[in-house]
Symmetry: C2
Subunit: 187 residues, 2 copies
């Protein structure tokens, strides 16, 4: 991999951290510049569209990460319960056990929403679809599998909100523990 690509990846990782913590409107170029170690002009060299481009790059990275590490593994070989468990472990690590904010939730507030609405919907649909497929494979009727998948995603997002709002990561970890039975139980 060329050094330029690698450094861009690193820059996007830093941008992600700023947007995750401060949201779209709350992230200033000064913060983004400091976090990446690049001057403003250098940022504009890599992201000609300015802050909007940076947010899109961050969202693209989240999408890719989500597909590669959370959604694709759901389709791999092995027992459904085991595949689900691996996805939940990945999520747990990404959100530091509930101590980090929900990237998507924070990016979607204010000026960020218009920029990312379509891509955000795509991630949610992909995620829900993959979970529903898994539940169906485990023997849950189709319609019920879809509803349970939506519930699972909602529980994860809601638990992140609750964890952030109360400063206590416990609800998030508990939500992750409860999801397997909710999603895969055959009644």
């Amino acid at each position: 991999m060329p050094a330029s690509l690698r450094s861009r990846e690193e820059a996007v990782a830093h941008l992600l951290a700023v947007f995750q913590a401060h949201g779209y409107d709350g992230a200033s170029l000064a913060q983004l510049s400091k976090a990446t170690g690049l001057g403003k002009s250098s940022l504009y060299h890599h992201f000609p569209g300015g802050k909007a481009d940076m947010a899109r790059a961050v969202l693209a990275r989240v999408n890719r990460w989500m597909v590669e590490t959370a959604i694709e593994p759901l389709k791999g070989p092995g027992k459904p319960a085991r595949r689900l468990a691996r996805m939940l472990e990945t999520l747990d690590a990404f959100y530091a056990g509930g101590r980090k904010c929900c990237v998507l939730g924070n990016l979607v507030v204010g000026g960020g929403r218009a920029l990312v609405q379509a891509e955000l919907k795509a991630v949610f649909d992909l995620w829900i679809g993959a979970l529903a497929d898994l539940a169906a494979e485990a023997g849950v009727p189709r319609a019920q599998a879809r509803e349970r998948a939506e519930d699972a995603v909602a529980m994860i997002e809601g638990a992140l909100i609750l964890a952030g709002g109360r400063g206590d990561p416990a609800p998030f970890r508990r939500a992750l523990r409860r999801i397997p039975e909710h999603l895969l139980a055959r009644d």
Copy 2:
């Protein structure tokens, strides 16, 4: 009630709408001025601390509303299931069936977080406590009642995120429908 108090209440209602739609950092004084129909100087007359004061006033209003219309009714007379149903109807109306953003979620992003962290935790704790009391009254063991109450709040918040993210209010309404059985079932 004096006219001044009434007009302040009205102003706060308009401020709420702006913060709910744009978040703390995304809401500008120009927008807040236009929404209330007051000039900037008039806003500073009512809220000397500027935008931060306005956000706190909005949060105080949300807190009061939450206690009066969602939490107190949970303690009233009547069957627990019926009281819960009334609270859920109130929430449904407030969030327009899932078509409006979560006020708390949007206010807490970016610069708003530091302002409201303590009050946000208080609302969540009040809400969860009231729901847990209700479940306990309905015969659910204490520890389980508490967990189910946290799950219920997380489901509501998560469903609002999902509804906003996908532009489809269905998950929110379905979450409201599912909560009674989740919270009150005796197994």
